[in-house]
Protein backbone atom coordinates (compact mmCIF):
# COMPACT_ATOMS: atom_id res chain seq x y z
CA UNK A 1 0.00 0.00 0.00
CA UNK A 2 2.84 2.29 1.01
CA UNK A 3 4.78 1.50 -2.17
CA UNK A 4 1.69 2.10 -4.37
CA UNK A 5 1.20 5.48 -2.73
CA UNK A 6 4.86 6.36 -3.29
CA UNK A 7 4.54 5.26 -6.95
CA UNK A 8 1.45 7.48 -7.36
CA UNK A 9 3.28 10.48 -5.89
CA UNK A 10 6.24 9.80 -8.16
CA UNK A 11 3.98 9.68 -11.23
CA UNK A 12 2.38 12.99 -10.29
CA UNK A 13 5.77 14.64 -9.74
CA UNK A 14 7.33 13.27 -12.93
CA UNK A 15 4.19 14.00 -14.94
CA UNK A 16 4.10 17.54 -13.62
CA UNK A 17 7.75 18.06 -14.49
CA UNK A 18 7.19 16.79 -18.03
CA UNK A 19 4.20 19.10 -18.51
CA UNK A 20 6.20 22.09 -17.29
CA UNK A 21 9.20 21.07 -19.40
CA UNK A 22 7.34 20.56 -22.66
CA UNK A 23 5.19 23.62 -22.08
CA UNK A 24 8.40 25.61 -21.82
CA UNK A 25 9.64 24.10 -25.07
CA UNK A 26 6.53 24.66 -27.13
CA UNK A 27 5.77 28.08 -25.76
CA UNK A 28 2.47 29.89 -25.70
CA UNK A 29 -0.21 29.11 -28.27
CA UNK A 30 -1.32 32.72 -28.05
CA UNK A 31 1.57 33.90 -30.22
CA UNK A 32 0.54 35.67 -33.34
CA UNK A 33 2.12 34.93 -36.75
CA UNK A 34 4.87 37.15 -38.06
CA UNK A 35 5.03 38.73 -41.50
CA UNK A 36 8.33 39.35 -43.25
CA UNK A 37 8.56 42.89 -44.58
CA UNK A 38 11.14 44.62 -46.78
CA UNK A 39 11.81 47.97 -48.41
CA UNK A 40 10.00 48.30 -51.76
CA UNK A 41 13.44 48.31 -53.49
CA UNK A 42 13.84 44.64 -52.57
CA UNK A 43 12.73 42.82 -55.67
CA UNK A 44 11.73 39.58 -54.00
CA UNK A 45 8.22 38.21 -53.71
CA UNK A 46 8.88 35.00 -51.86
CA UNK A 47 11.70 33.12 -50.18
CA UNK A 48 12.12 29.69 -48.66
CA UNK A 49 12.46 29.43 -44.90
CA UNK A 50 16.11 28.47 -45.37
CA UNK A 51 16.83 31.49 -47.57
CA UNK A 52 15.28 33.74 -44.95
CA UNK A 53 17.32 32.07 -42.25
CA UNK A 54 20.50 32.77 -44.22
CA UNK A 55 19.50 36.43 -44.55
CA UNK A 56 18.62 36.92 -40.89
CA UNK A 57 21.77 35.12 -39.70
CA UNK A 58 24.00 37.29 -41.89
CA UNK A 59 25.17 34.45 -44.15
CA UNK A 60 23.78 36.29 -47.15
CA UNK A 61 24.55 40.00 -47.34
CA UNK A 62 23.24 41.11 -50.76
CA UNK A 63 19.87 41.09 -52.52
CA UNK A 64 20.35 39.73 -56.02
CA UNK A 65 24.00 40.82 -56.00
CA UNK A 66 23.30 44.54 -56.08
CA UNK A 67 21.75 45.80 -52.90
CA UNK A 68 23.15 45.46 -49.38
CA UNK A 69 20.82 43.62 -47.03
CA UNK A 70 20.05 45.57 -43.85
CA UNK A 71 18.57 43.25 -41.27
CA UNK A 72 16.44 44.82 -38.55
CA UNK A 73 14.88 43.07 -35.57
CA UNK A 74 12.59 43.74 -32.65
CA UNK A 75 13.79 43.90 -29.08
CA UNK A 76 12.20 41.60 -26.52
CA UNK A 77 8.68 41.56 -27.95
CA UNK A 78 6.49 38.47 -28.45
CA UNK A 79 6.85 38.73 -32.23
CA UNK A 80 10.64 38.58 -31.85
CA UNK A 81 10.49 35.36 -29.86
CA UNK A 82 8.17 33.80 -32.39
CA UNK A 83 10.40 34.98 -35.24
CA UNK A 84 13.59 33.51 -33.76
CA UNK A 85 11.90 30.20 -33.00
CA UNK A 86 10.07 29.80 -36.31
CA UNK A 87 12.35 31.45 -38.85
CA UNK A 88 15.91 31.05 -37.57
CA UNK A 89 15.20 28.09 -35.29
CA UNK A 90 17.00 29.60 -32.32
CA UNK A 91 15.97 30.92 -28.96
CA UNK A 92 16.19 34.68 -28.49
CA UNK A 93 19.33 34.21 -26.39
CA UNK A 94 20.93 32.02 -29.08
CA UNK A 95 19.99 34.56 -31.76
CA UNK A 96 21.56 37.39 -29.76
CA UNK A 97 24.70 35.35 -29.16
CA UNK A 98 24.93 34.43 -32.84
CA UNK A 99 25.06 38.09 -33.81
CA UNK A 100 27.47 39.02 -31.06
CA UNK A 101 29.71 36.24 -32.33
CA UNK A 102 29.49 37.70 -35.84
CA UNK A 103 30.30 41.19 -34.58
CA UNK A 104 33.24 40.31 -32.35
CA UNK A 105 34.87 38.14 -35.00
CA UNK A 106 34.36 40.75 -37.72
CA UNK A 107 31.94 38.64 -39.75
CA UNK A 108 28.98 40.96 -39.66
CA UNK A 109 27.33 44.12 -38.38
CA UNK A 110 24.75 43.57 -35.69
CA UNK A 111 21.15 44.21 -36.86
CA UNK A 112 19.55 47.44 -35.76
CA UNK A 113 16.86 46.67 -33.17
CA UNK A 114 13.62 48.45 -32.31
CA UNK A 115 11.37 48.70 -29.28
CA UNK A 116 8.16 48.84 -31.33
CA UNK A 117 6.88 47.23 -34.50
CA UNK A 118 5.76 50.61 -35.85
CA UNK A 119 9.29 52.00 -35.50
CA UNK A 120 10.76 48.94 -37.19
CA UNK A 121 8.31 49.21 -40.08
CA UNK A 122 9.04 52.92 -40.49
CA UNK A 123 12.77 52.17 -40.72
CA UNK A 124 12.23 49.39 -43.26
CA UNK A 125 10.01 51.69 -45.35
CA UNK A 126 12.68 54.40 -45.37
CA UNK A 127 15.87 52.37 -45.97
CA UNK A 128 16.83 50.60 -49.20
CA UNK A 129 17.60 46.93 -48.74
CA UNK A 130 16.08 46.76 -45.26
CA UNK A 131 14.29 43.60 -44.15
CA UNK A 132 12.50 42.79 -40.91
CA UNK A 133 9.28 41.38 -39.54
CA UNK A 134 6.11 42.46 -37.78
CA UNK A 135 3.23 40.57 -36.25
CA UNK A 136 0.36 39.74 -38.59
CA UNK A 137 -1.96 41.87 -36.51
CA UNK A 138 -0.24 45.00 -37.80
CA UNK A 139 -1.06 46.24 -41.29
CA UNK A 140 2.05 46.65 -43.48
CA UNK A 141 2.39 50.27 -44.65
CA UNK A 142 5.00 51.56 -47.08
CA UNK A 143 6.77 48.20 -47.26
CA UNK A 144 6.50 45.06 -49.30
CA UNK A 145 5.76 41.70 -47.78
CA UNK A 146 7.75 38.57 -48.59
CA UNK A 147 5.94 35.25 -48.69
CA UNK A 148 7.59 32.39 -46.88
CA UNK A 149 7.66 29.15 -48.89
CA UNK A 150 7.82 25.86 -47.06
Amino acid sequence: MKSRFAFLIMRIVVGGMLVVFFNGLTGSAAWADVVIIAHPSVDVESMTAQELKNVFLGNRVKWNDHLQIKVVVLKDLPAHEQFTRKIVHKTTAQFKNWWRQMVFTGKGLIPRSFNSEQALMAYVAANEGAVGYISSELKPVGVRTINVLD
Partner: protein, 419 residues
Amino acid sequence: MKKIILLTILAAVFFTAHAFASEFGDVDIHGFISQGYLQTDKINFLAETKDGTFQFNELALNFATILSPGLRVGMQLFAYDLGDRGNDELTVEWCYADYQWKEWLGFRVGSMKTPHGLYNEIRDMDMLRPTIFLPMGVYSEVIRDELQSNRGMAAYGLVSLGGLGRLSYLMQLGQMTVDKDKGFARAAELLAERNFELQGFTINADTKDIHSGYTSNGVLKWYTFIDGLMLGITGFNNNNMDTTIRTNGSLNNIPFEYQFQSHITEWWGMVASGQYEWYDLVLTYEYFRSDMKTTTRDSETYVVPIFGVDGKNEKSPLMAWYINLSYRFSAFVECAYTYTEYYENINDRDGTSYKESGLDDYLAWAKSSVFSTRFDINDNWILKLEYTYTDGQLYFNPAENDKLSRYWSMYGIKVTYTF
Protein backbone atom coordinates in the same frame (compact mmCIF):
# COMPACT_ATOMS: atom_id res chain seq x y z
CA MET B 1 53.21 53.54 -17.40
CA LYS B 2 52.80 53.29 -21.17
CA LYS B 3 50.41 50.39 -20.68
CA ILE B 4 48.34 52.33 -18.15
CA ILE B 5 48.08 55.32 -20.50
CA LEU B 6 47.04 53.09 -23.40
CA LEU B 7 44.42 51.34 -21.30
CA THR B 8 43.13 54.65 -19.96
CA ILE B 9 42.73 55.94 -23.52
CA LEU B 10 41.04 52.71 -24.56
CA ALA B 11 38.70 52.83 -21.56
CA ALA B 12 37.82 56.45 -22.35
CA VAL B 13 37.10 55.56 -25.98
CA PHE B 14 35.15 52.52 -24.78
CA PHE B 15 32.73 54.49 -22.63
CA THR B 16 32.55 57.47 -24.98
CA ALA B 17 31.76 55.15 -27.86
CA HIS B 18 29.00 53.53 -25.87
CA ALA B 19 27.45 56.82 -24.89
CA PHE B 20 27.51 58.25 -28.41
CA ALA B 21 27.47 55.12 -30.57
CA SER B 22 24.58 56.36 -32.67
CA GLU B 23 26.52 59.49 -33.61
CA PHE B 24 29.22 57.61 -35.47
CA GLY B 25 27.04 57.37 -38.53
CA ASP B 26 27.82 54.30 -40.58
CA VAL B 27 30.59 52.98 -38.37
CA ASP B 28 29.38 50.37 -35.88
CA ILE B 29 31.23 50.37 -32.58
CA HIS B 30 30.96 47.58 -30.06
CA GLY B 31 33.00 46.34 -27.17
CA PHE B 32 33.18 44.42 -23.96
CA ILE B 33 35.07 44.50 -20.72
CA SER B 34 35.29 41.68 -18.22
CA GLN B 35 36.81 41.24 -14.80
CA GLY B 36 37.27 37.91 -13.09
CA TYR B 37 38.45 36.49 -9.82
CA LEU B 38 40.13 33.10 -9.45
CA GLN B 39 40.82 31.04 -6.34
CA THR B 40 42.36 27.58 -6.05
CA ASP B 41 42.78 25.34 -3.07
CA LYS B 42 46.01 23.30 -3.37
CA ILE B 43 48.11 24.76 -6.19
CA ASN B 44 48.64 28.05 -7.98
CA PHE B 45 47.12 27.76 -11.43
CA LEU B 46 47.84 30.25 -14.22
CA ALA B 47 48.42 32.97 -11.59
CA GLU B 48 48.95 33.28 -7.84
CA THR B 49 45.51 31.80 -7.30
CA LYS B 50 45.96 30.14 -3.91
CA ASP B 51 45.63 33.56 -2.35
CA GLY B 52 42.99 34.55 -4.90
CA THR B 53 43.70 36.83 -7.85
CA PHE B 54 42.02 39.55 -9.89
CA GLN B 55 44.68 39.27 -12.61
CA PHE B 56 42.03 37.94 -14.93
CA ASN B 57 40.39 40.40 -17.30
CA GLU B 58 39.66 41.19 -20.94
CA LEU B 59 38.80 44.33 -22.87
CA ALA B 60 37.90 44.82 -26.53
CA LEU B 61 36.66 47.59 -28.76
CA ASN B 62 35.76 47.10 -32.40
CA PHE B 63 34.85 49.23 -35.38
CA ALA B 64 33.21 48.03 -38.60
CA THR B 65 31.50 49.52 -41.59
CA ILE B 66 30.11 48.55 -44.97
CA LEU B 67 31.90 50.29 -47.82
CA SER B 68 29.78 48.97 -50.67
CA PRO B 69 27.30 46.11 -51.18
CA GLY B 70 29.09 42.97 -49.97
CA LEU B 71 32.28 44.77 -48.88
CA ARG B 72 32.90 45.23 -45.17
CA VAL B 73 35.97 46.34 -43.24
CA GLY B 74 36.63 46.29 -39.52
CA MET B 75 39.14 45.97 -36.74
CA GLN B 76 39.18 45.03 -33.08
CA LEU B 77 41.52 46.22 -30.35
CA PHE B 78 42.03 43.77 -27.54
CA ALA B 79 43.87 43.43 -24.24
CA TYR B 80 43.82 40.69 -21.63
CA ASP B 81 45.53 39.67 -18.43
CA LEU B 82 45.81 36.22 -16.94
CA GLY B 83 48.56 35.92 -14.39
CA ASP B 84 51.79 36.85 -16.11
CA ARG B 85 50.27 36.39 -19.58
CA GLY B 86 48.72 39.14 -21.66
CA ASN B 87 49.49 41.83 -19.08
CA ASP B 88 46.84 44.08 -20.61
CA GLU B 89 49.04 44.77 -23.61
CA LEU B 90 46.92 46.33 -26.32
CA THR B 91 46.89 44.37 -29.58
CA VAL B 92 45.01 44.48 -32.85
CA GLU B 93 43.11 41.23 -32.49
CA TRP B 94 41.78 41.28 -36.02
CA CYS B 95 41.68 43.75 -38.87
CA TYR B 96 40.45 42.70 -42.27
CA ALA B 97 38.39 43.39 -45.35
CA ASP B 98 35.63 40.97 -46.28
CA TYR B 99 33.96 40.77 -49.66
CA GLN B 100 31.10 38.36 -50.26
CA TRP B 101 30.66 37.80 -53.97
CA LYS B 102 28.01 35.14 -53.67
CA GLU B 103 26.58 33.38 -50.68
CA TRP B 104 28.80 30.43 -51.54
CA LEU B 105 32.00 32.41 -52.10
CA GLY B 106 33.56 35.28 -50.21
CA PHE B 107 37.10 36.49 -49.57
CA ARG B 108 38.94 38.01 -46.64
CA VAL B 109 42.35 39.66 -46.46
CA GLY B 110 44.15 40.96 -43.41
CA SER B 111 44.58 39.69 -39.90
CA MET B 112 41.79 37.25 -39.08
CA LYS B 113 40.73 35.20 -36.08
CA THR B 114 42.09 31.67 -36.22
CA PRO B 115 39.46 28.96 -36.54
CA HIS B 116 40.13 26.07 -34.18
CA GLY B 117 37.25 24.01 -32.86
CA LEU B 118 33.94 25.73 -32.31
CA TYR B 119 35.18 28.29 -29.82
CA ASN B 120 38.70 29.55 -30.52
CA GLU B 121 37.48 32.51 -32.54
CA ILE B 122 35.29 33.58 -29.61
CA ARG B 123 37.41 32.39 -26.67
CA ASP B 124 37.90 35.96 -25.43
CA MET B 125 34.18 36.71 -25.50
CA ASP B 126 32.60 35.66 -22.28
CA MET B 127 29.12 36.72 -23.22
CA LEU B 128 28.88 33.98 -25.84
CA ARG B 129 29.00 30.95 -23.57
CA PRO B 130 27.94 29.85 -20.09
CA THR B 131 31.42 28.74 -18.97
CA ILE B 132 34.27 30.97 -17.78
CA PHE B 133 37.07 28.80 -19.16
CA LEU B 134 37.02 26.74 -22.30
CA PRO B 135 38.27 23.14 -21.92
CA MET B 136 42.02 23.76 -21.80
CA GLY B 137 43.06 20.52 -23.45
CA VAL B 138 41.34 21.60 -26.66
CA TYR B 139 41.80 25.36 -26.23
CA SER B 140 45.31 25.55 -24.88
CA GLU B 141 46.45 28.48 -22.78
CA VAL B 142 50.02 27.76 -24.00
CA ILE B 143 49.31 28.91 -27.52
CA ARG B 144 46.42 31.31 -26.84
CA ASP B 145 48.40 34.23 -28.30
CA GLU B 146 49.48 32.23 -31.35
CA LEU B 147 45.96 30.98 -32.01
CA GLN B 148 44.51 34.48 -31.67
CA SER B 149 44.84 35.47 -35.31
CA ASN B 150 46.57 34.79 -38.61
CA ARG B 151 47.72 37.30 -41.17
CA GLY B 152 46.86 36.29 -44.69
CA MET B 153 43.86 35.55 -46.83
CA ALA B 154 40.81 33.35 -46.74
CA ALA B 155 37.97 32.06 -48.87
CA TYR B 156 34.64 31.08 -47.35
CA GLY B 157 31.06 30.30 -48.22
CA LEU B 158 27.84 28.50 -47.48
CA VAL B 159 26.63 25.83 -49.88
CA SER B 160 23.17 24.33 -49.94
CA LEU B 161 23.05 20.53 -49.98
CA GLY B 162 19.35 20.39 -50.74
CA GLY B 163 17.60 17.98 -48.42
CA LEU B 164 20.86 17.13 -46.66
CA GLY B 165 21.28 20.58 -45.13
CA ARG B 166 23.99 23.19 -45.66
CA LEU B 167 27.76 23.11 -45.69
CA SER B 168 29.87 26.06 -44.65
CA TYR B 169 33.57 26.15 -45.39
CA LEU B 170 36.58 28.35 -44.74
CA MET B 171 40.12 28.03 -46.08
CA GLN B 172 42.75 30.29 -44.60
CA LEU B 173 46.39 30.69 -45.57
CA GLY B 174 48.79 32.96 -43.75
CA GLN B 175 51.24 33.34 -40.97
CA MET B 176 50.70 32.71 -37.30
CA THR B 177 51.28 35.75 -35.12
CA VAL B 178 54.29 34.90 -32.95
CA ASP B 179 56.18 37.07 -30.53
CA LYS B 180 59.30 36.33 -28.50
CA ASP B 181 57.63 37.75 -25.39
CA LYS B 182 54.39 35.82 -25.72
CA GLY B 183 52.66 32.45 -25.59
CA PHE B 184 54.74 29.79 -27.28
CA ALA B 185 58.10 31.47 -26.62
CA ARG B 186 57.26 32.18 -22.98
CA ALA B 187 56.12 28.61 -22.50
CA ALA B 188 59.33 27.28 -24.10
CA GLU B 189 61.42 29.42 -21.74
CA LEU B 190 59.51 28.24 -18.70
CA LEU B 191 59.67 24.60 -19.68
CA ALA B 192 63.41 24.86 -20.41
CA GLU B 193 64.00 26.39 -16.97
CA ARG B 194 61.94 23.70 -15.25
CA ASN B 195 63.58 20.88 -17.15
CA PHE B 196 67.08 22.19 -16.38
CA GLU B 197 66.00 22.46 -12.76
CA LEU B 198 65.05 18.79 -12.76
CA GLN B 199 68.63 18.06 -13.83
CA GLY B 200 70.01 20.16 -10.98
CA PHE B 201 70.68 23.45 -12.79
CA THR B 202 69.18 26.82 -12.11
CA ILE B 203 69.02 28.87 -15.28
CA ASN B 204 67.35 31.86 -16.82
CA ALA B 205 65.98 31.30 -20.31
CA ASP B 206 65.27 34.07 -22.75
CA THR B 207 63.88 33.77 -26.28
CA LYS B 208 66.24 35.42 -28.69
CA ASP B 209 64.21 34.92 -31.79
CA ILE B 210 61.04 33.18 -32.95
CA HIS B 211 59.86 32.78 -36.50
CA SER B 212 56.82 31.06 -37.89
CA GLY B 213 56.44 29.50 -41.29
CA TYR B 214 53.18 29.43 -43.18
CA THR B 215 50.01 28.25 -41.52
CA SER B 216 46.99 26.83 -43.25
CA ASN B 217 43.62 26.45 -41.57
CA GLY B 218 40.44 24.84 -42.75
CA VAL B 219 36.88 24.61 -41.48
CA LEU B 220 33.97 22.48 -42.62
CA LYS B 221 30.63 22.72 -40.84
CA TRP B 222 27.70 20.62 -41.89
CA TYR B 223 24.36 21.97 -40.70
CA THR B 224 22.58 18.69 -41.09
CA PHE B 225 19.05 17.88 -42.18
CA ILE B 226 18.28 17.23 -38.49
CA ASP B 227 17.25 20.64 -37.24
CA GLY B 228 19.75 21.89 -34.64
CA LEU B 229 22.45 19.29 -35.34
CA MET B 230 25.78 20.57 -36.63
CA LEU B 231 28.89 18.49 -37.30
CA GLY B 232 32.20 20.13 -38.00
CA ILE B 233 35.89 19.70 -38.41
CA THR B 234 38.66 22.29 -38.14
CA GLY B 235 42.34 21.79 -38.75
CA PHE B 236 45.60 23.67 -38.88
CA ASN B 237 49.03 22.93 -40.21
CA ASN B 238 52.15 24.93 -39.43
CA ASN B 239 55.59 24.18 -40.78
CA ASN B 240 59.01 25.52 -39.97
CA MET B 241 58.58 27.37 -36.72
CA ASP B 242 61.99 28.21 -35.25
CA THR B 243 62.55 29.27 -31.68
CA THR B 244 66.02 30.26 -30.52
CA ILE B 245 66.42 30.32 -26.77
CA ARG B 246 69.45 31.63 -24.90
CA THR B 247 70.03 30.45 -21.37
CA ASN B 248 72.46 31.40 -18.68
CA GLY B 249 73.07 29.90 -15.28
CA SER B 250 75.76 28.46 -13.11
CA LEU B 251 77.13 25.03 -12.30
CA ASN B 252 79.25 24.72 -9.16
CA ASN B 253 79.45 28.50 -9.12
CA ILE B 254 80.90 28.51 -12.64
CA PRO B 255 78.68 30.62 -14.89
CA PHE B 256 77.73 29.26 -18.28
CA GLU B 257 75.74 30.28 -21.31
CA TYR B 258 73.95 27.94 -23.59
CA GLN B 259 71.85 28.51 -26.68
CA PHE B 260 69.61 26.09 -28.47
CA GLN B 261 67.16 26.19 -31.32
CA SER B 262 63.89 24.34 -31.42
CA HIS B 263 62.79 23.65 -34.97
CA ILE B 264 59.24 22.46 -35.51
CA THR B 265 59.31 20.64 -38.80
CA GLU B 266 55.62 19.89 -38.78
CA TRP B 267 52.77 20.78 -36.45
CA TRP B 268 49.19 19.95 -37.11
CA GLY B 269 46.00 19.89 -35.09
CA MET B 270 42.48 18.76 -35.80
CA VAL B 271 39.23 19.20 -33.89
CA ALA B 272 36.13 17.18 -34.69
CA SER B 273 33.01 18.84 -33.32
CA GLY B 274 29.38 18.01 -32.87
CA GLN B 275 26.71 20.29 -31.48
CA TYR B 276 23.02 19.77 -31.00
CA GLU B 277 20.67 22.59 -30.08
CA TRP B 278 17.24 21.54 -28.90
CA TYR B 279 15.38 24.62 -27.77
CA ASP B 280 17.20 25.81 -24.63
CA LEU B 281 19.33 22.70 -24.38
CA VAL B 282 22.74 22.59 -26.08
CA LEU B 283 24.94 19.51 -26.19
CA THR B 284 28.50 19.89 -27.48
CA TYR B 285 31.25 17.33 -28.03
CA GLU B 286 34.74 18.04 -29.36
CA TYR B 287 37.72 15.77 -29.91
CA PHE B 288 41.19 17.22 -30.45
CA ARG B 289 44.33 15.59 -31.81
CA SER B 290 47.60 17.31 -32.41
CA ASP B 291 51.08 16.23 -33.34
CA MET B 292 54.29 18.19 -33.38
CA LYS B 293 57.58 17.01 -34.84
CA THR B 294 60.41 18.89 -33.22
CA THR B 295 64.15 18.86 -33.63
CA THR B 296 66.20 20.57 -30.97
CA ARG B 297 69.53 21.61 -32.40
CA ASP B 298 72.77 21.88 -30.44
CA SER B 299 71.55 19.26 -28.04
CA GLU B 300 74.90 17.52 -27.70
CA THR B 301 75.70 19.27 -24.46
CA TYR B 302 72.39 18.77 -22.75
CA VAL B 303 69.18 17.05 -23.53
CA VAL B 304 66.57 19.79 -23.64
CA PRO B 305 63.02 18.58 -23.36
CA ILE B 306 60.52 21.02 -24.77
CA PHE B 307 56.83 20.21 -24.82
CA GLY B 308 57.63 16.65 -23.90
CA VAL B 309 60.19 16.20 -26.66
CA ASP B 310 63.48 14.74 -25.55
CA GLY B 311 65.81 16.73 -27.72
CA LYS B 312 65.89 14.61 -30.84
CA ASN B 313 63.44 14.44 -33.69
CA GLU B 314 60.35 13.41 -31.77
CA LYS B 315 56.60 13.43 -31.97
CA SER B 316 54.25 14.61 -29.27
CA PRO B 317 50.78 13.26 -30.03
CA LEU B 318 48.34 15.18 -27.83
CA MET B 319 44.73 14.18 -27.41
CA ALA B 320 41.87 15.89 -25.62
CA TRP B 321 38.10 15.74 -25.66
CA TYR B 322 35.19 17.20 -23.79
CA ILE B 323 31.45 17.03 -23.57
CA ASN B 324 29.36 20.00 -22.49
CA LEU B 325 25.70 20.15 -21.63
CA SER B 326 24.08 23.51 -21.09
CA TYR B 327 20.50 24.46 -20.40
CA ARG B 328 18.95 27.90 -20.23
CA PHE B 329 16.26 27.86 -17.57
CA SER B 330 15.09 31.40 -18.26
CA ALA B 331 16.26 34.65 -19.80
CA PHE B 332 18.09 35.19 -16.51
CA VAL B 333 19.90 31.95 -15.79
CA GLU B 334 21.79 29.26 -17.73
CA CYS B 335 23.67 26.31 -16.26
CA ALA B 336 26.31 24.06 -17.80
CA TYR B 337 28.29 20.97 -16.97
CA THR B 338 31.53 20.07 -18.75
CA TYR B 339 33.65 16.96 -18.46
CA THR B 340 37.02 16.96 -20.19
CA GLU B 341 40.08 14.74 -20.50
CA TYR B 342 43.49 15.69 -21.81
CA TYR B 343 46.55 13.51 -22.42
CA GLU B 344 50.03 14.67 -23.33
CA ASN B 345 50.77 11.43 -25.14
CA ILE B 346 47.91 9.40 -26.50
CA ASN B 347 50.13 6.32 -26.26
CA ASP B 348 50.94 6.87 -22.58
CA ARG B 349 47.68 7.77 -20.91
CA ASP B 350 48.63 6.33 -17.52
CA GLY B 351 51.89 8.27 -17.28
CA THR B 352 54.23 5.27 -17.34
CA SER B 353 57.04 7.30 -18.90
CA TYR B 354 56.80 9.84 -16.07
CA LYS B 355 56.88 7.07 -13.46
CA GLU B 356 59.96 5.56 -15.09
CA SER B 357 61.64 8.98 -14.87
CA GLY B 358 60.88 9.14 -11.16
CA LEU B 359 58.14 11.72 -11.57
CA ASP B 360 54.45 11.65 -10.67
CA ASP B 361 52.35 9.85 -13.24
CA TYR B 362 49.53 12.42 -12.95
CA LEU B 363 51.67 14.90 -14.88
CA ALA B 364 50.57 12.98 -17.99
CA TRP B 365 46.87 13.81 -17.80
CA ALA B 366 44.22 16.25 -16.69
CA LYS B 367 40.58 15.27 -16.17
CA SER B 368 38.20 17.98 -15.09
CA SER B 369 34.56 18.35 -14.13
CA VAL B 370 33.29 21.89 -14.49
CA PHE B 371 30.03 23.31 -13.13
CA SER B 372 29.09 26.72 -14.52
CA THR B 373 26.22 29.12 -13.97
CA ARG B 374 25.59 32.27 -15.93
CA PHE B 375 23.25 35.08 -14.91
CA ASP B 376 22.10 37.56 -17.56
CA ILE B 377 21.41 40.56 -15.39
CA ASN B 378 20.30 42.57 -18.41
CA ASP B 379 21.26 42.95 -22.08
CA ASN B 380 24.67 44.36 -21.18
CA TRP B 381 25.72 42.74 -17.91
CA ILE B 382 26.40 39.08 -17.19
CA LEU B 383 27.75 37.33 -14.10
CA LYS B 384 29.29 33.85 -14.11
CA LEU B 385 30.19 31.45 -11.35
CA GLU B 386 32.27 28.34 -11.97
CA TYR B 387 33.67 25.44 -9.99
CA THR B 388 36.30 23.11 -11.48
CA TYR B 389 37.54 19.88 -9.96
CA THR B 390 40.62 18.41 -11.62
CA ASP B 391 42.51 15.15 -11.41
CA GLY B 392 45.98 15.63 -12.89
CA GLN B 393 48.46 18.36 -13.68
CA LEU B 394 48.88 18.33 -17.43
CA TYR B 395 47.43 21.77 -18.12
CA PHE B 396 50.24 24.17 -18.86
CA ASN B 397 50.75 26.11 -15.68
CA PRO B 398 53.10 29.10 -15.64
CA ALA B 399 52.44 29.76 -11.93
CA GLU B 400 55.10 28.83 -9.39
CA ASN B 401 54.34 25.90 -7.09
CA ASP B 402 56.55 24.43 -4.36
CA LYS B 403 54.46 21.31 -4.32
CA LEU B 404 52.00 19.84 -6.81
CA SER B 405 48.80 18.02 -6.01
CA ARG B 406 47.02 15.41 -8.08
CA TYR B 407 43.55 16.58 -7.08
CA TRP B 408 42.71 20.27 -6.90
CA SER B 409 39.81 22.67 -7.23
CA MET B 410 39.34 26.10 -8.73
CA TYR B 411 36.58 28.65 -8.16
CA GLY B 412 35.94 31.46 -10.61
CA ILE B 413 33.73 34.54 -10.75
CA LYS B 414 33.51 36.78 -13.77
CA VAL B 415 31.50 39.87 -14.65
CA THR B 416 31.24 41.08 -18.23
CA TYR B 417 29.81 44.23 -19.72
CA THR B 418 29.03 44.21 -23.45
CA PHE B 419 27.63 46.83 -25.78
